[in-house]
Symmetry: C2
């Protein structure tokens, strides 16, 4: 059993050796650029840790790991155009550094590349086909999640169920797929495939709810992004959805007042944070997060009976440690 | 042997029964919309005629046919954003009817859908994997072709070799793939797979050169688009590339003068057409076209020795008949 840090190191080495080659540069460079920006590489790590549950020879899962990372970065490249985002991991986004047409086309290439990697997996054709099928279903859910996210911006109200459905598509299904596909490639007991998927799905939901919480109530230094960003962008997060449910009519007016503003304002961040706190939606979010972690751990317990989950748990704990 | 017209009818019926279902509407409707706009459906026809070379039961190839049509329309949806095109087949483009974000995401979904269709093909897993590999290589070439096309807009000079490489990627490889994948799915003699591919590739090149020719020298009524469109857009077509090679320094100045204009002008169309004609680049394009048709027919002759190519030839002839 290799630690997740060592697994990460091996993946980063692999990714460095497998940059995309080809011409014209305008097509391939942006793909290599966004992949080089780093990040936590949670998805390839999950693919490799899923594989390692069953088989220590994680090299066999490297192409799968790279496929999910390439796919994730394809979605980032296109989302950044749709969201008009100028900065990604402290660097200019592709459509800013090059232009939107290049970001569209280079993203398209990355989606093709992800499929190419999957189709090159070192396994029998049947398993490959079933991994490609699951990948396609996952990719469709990610598109659905992104479209709902864009739709929500124009709605005056969003239910918690709709919100959870959206984040499941946008974030969790890819984490779940990564972990499960790794374990299937390694030949996990089919009876446990669903537990592996559900573990990934629920930690995904927990981390997304955590992100919502930390965006308002986190610590600037450890969060990495500006605290209050969601509030400034009038984002319909879990905090906002629950606050709307709990608030009095005068509080609702205040919330609506602030969420009709689009200018940068520390006063707005402070006022909405105080309002959220007075309605205890911070506690609500923490409970919700706890709920998903507990669900995840229930599935983990099943897996643990048969496989060594030490490295996987260490990763989840370290990601969870942001919440302190 | 069914006529290509009857094959087309069966495909249109299949496509009508297999519209995409799902929510949100903003994601699925644009995909169904662009597919409903019609067109000649050359790619699915080629997939089905490739299949029919070997096996009359073309229903088995419908998902392949639909996959290539969905893929083609994905490229149109994204290209229309990049090209700022407002009209597609007489109707508003997706990014005009909805918006650019929706056109990006709905296009992404269509690429995923194309792969899903391929992965559902009624064949053994090995063949499926090899069709998916060929599809990925083709899709990458299409991205390469589109990027070169965009790059050419900014260059002052483009060689004929670069131009041919570009149109091969943008148009021909998909035609070649469609025909070949159909024939492979039906179990064609492997010794002929390359001939089938090369036939598709060369008719693709011939038709693209024909498009360049007809855009300037065609008959308005039968061409369907405005004659002189390429000239108005200062497009670096085969006519322009050859004219630049042949012209005197005073003619070059004239050509450069007109190609620095960006306003709508019938005078420009007339002047450039006269110049092209005086340099006999119309004849050059026709010879080039003939050259590709002859190459295509050489490969067809090999195929004909073993399979009935009547329907395929009828399609090629009818497409060729535009050139009269």
């Amino acid at each position: 059993m290799t630690t997740y840090q060592s697994v990460l190191k091996q993946y980063i080495h692999f990714a460095g050796e497998h940059t995309f080659k080809g011409k014209p540069a305008e097509l391939y460079d942006p793909a290599n650029y966004i992949l080089s920006l780093g990040g936590k590489r949670v998805r390839p790590l999950l693919a490799l840790l899923g594989y390692q549950l069953v088989d220590p020879d994680i090299q066999r899962a490297m192409k799968l790991a790279h496929a999910v990372e390439v796919f994730h970065n394809f979605t980032l490249m296109h989302d950044d155009i749709m969201d008009n985002a100028n900065v990604r991991r402290g660097e200019p986004t592709v459509h800013v550094k090059w232009d939107s047409s290049i970001a569209i086309l280079s993203g398209d290439l990355m989606l093709v590349k992800a499929y190419q990697l999957l189709n090159e997996l070192d396994t029998d054709a049947e398993s490959k086909s079933s991994i490609i099928r699951a990948f396609g279903d996952m990719a469709e859910s990610v598109c659905v999640g992104q479209q709902y996210d864009m739709n929500f911006e124009k709605l005056t109200d969003v239910s918690e169920a709709d919100y959870l459905h959206m984040i499941e598509g946008k974030t969790s299904v890819l984490l779940a797929f990564s972990l499960q596909a790794g374990s299937i490639l390694a030949g996990i007991d089919p009876a446990l495939e669903q537990d592996v998927y559900d573990y990934g799905l629920n930690i995904g939901l927990a981390f997304q709810v955590m992100d919502d919480y930390l965006d308002t109530f986190g610590d600037q230094a450890s969060f990495g992004k500006r605290i209050g960003g969601d509030i400034l962008e009038n984002k319909k997060t879990l905090l906002w959805i629950e606050a709307k449910k709990r608030c009095s009519s005068s509080q609702l007016k205040e919330l609506q007042h602030w969420y009709s503003q689009t200018t940068e304002s520390n006063e707005k961040i402070e006022a909405v944070t105080v309002l959220f706190k007075s309605l205890s939606v911070d506690t609500y979010a923490k409970e919700k997060m706890q709920h998903y972690f507990e669900k995840a751990n229930m599935h983990l317990a099943h897996i643990k009976k048969h496989y060594d989950t030490t490295a996987l748990e260490a990763l989840a704990n370290d990601l969870n440690a942001r919440n302190t």
